[in-house]
Symmetry: C2
Subunit: 140 residues, 2 copies
Amino acid sequence: MQLRMTNQREMILRELKKSKGHLTADELYERVRKSMPRISLATVYRNLEILSEAGIIRKLEISGRQKRFDYEVEDHDHIYCVECHRIENLQLDKSAMKVPTPETVKGYTITGCRLEVTGVCPKCQQKLAKKKKKKKKKKN
Amino acid sequence: MQLRMTNQREMILRELKKSKGHLTADELYERVRKSMPRISLATVYRNLEILSEAGIIRKLEISGRQKRFDYEVEDHDHIYCVECHRIENLQLDKSAMKVPTPETVKGYTITGCRLEVTGVCPKCQQKLAKKKKKKKKKKN
DNA sequence: TTCTCTGCAAATAATTTGCACCCAT
DNA sequence: ATGGGTGCAAATTATTTGCAGAGAA
């Protein structure tokens, strides 16, 4: 199965690269559409799947909600805000961490290992602080 | 908002506990249905969401399109088979690893940190080996 | 009694697929 | 010219929601 470089595919890659990462199929669709109005959402989905399978982009699978795709294939981890669902890159020196080896995970062939850190981003911390204040006021 | 302990809720918790973890709403629904045929899938969804918000069960934010829920709230990681999508628990000494601290992730309040290891489980390794053999035969 | 919870059905959201035509190689 | 790629619409899959009645506190 040969991969062909179509205009659509090129556009998708360019936008993904430009955006600096973590777009959903839908977000990407909206962007690509501006310069290629007749592209179909299905095409975006199909290509994201194909390109990530080919290792050209990376698929981030964070449970349940929408898949996100990332242009940078180099090794890095992510931090995920549980409030607003924003995802940011994380530069960690994984070589300094003790990471599972086949011996620690009996029988498995390990293909990847990444750290998912969850937290509350600065913006959401502010929002939450405000909410708490409001609640207090209501009670009184 | 008070939480009430209904039969449905009790059943869901019991089955989740019994199963030793990582069920999707749908899988859980099928199990609970055996002893409670009139339960609705919507109830399962609603309760999984509520119970995980209350900290009684855990929502796994890892790979896969469906959300999965876990009874064991204690800290542990998971390994995910990229072939059959099975998820198994992983006991790792995270204290021995250097794990992100607030200083490494500027501004974030860190709520969790989980290692997501992907790989191919023993069963799938066998399956894949068999497939390869078949392909070779076809070529000849 | 009060208010949360439930079942049902219908609505949304996210993604995939069938098909006929298009176009990169 | 061949076979992968595309757009469109329809189909699936996963999850959520409105509502009226049920049942835990």
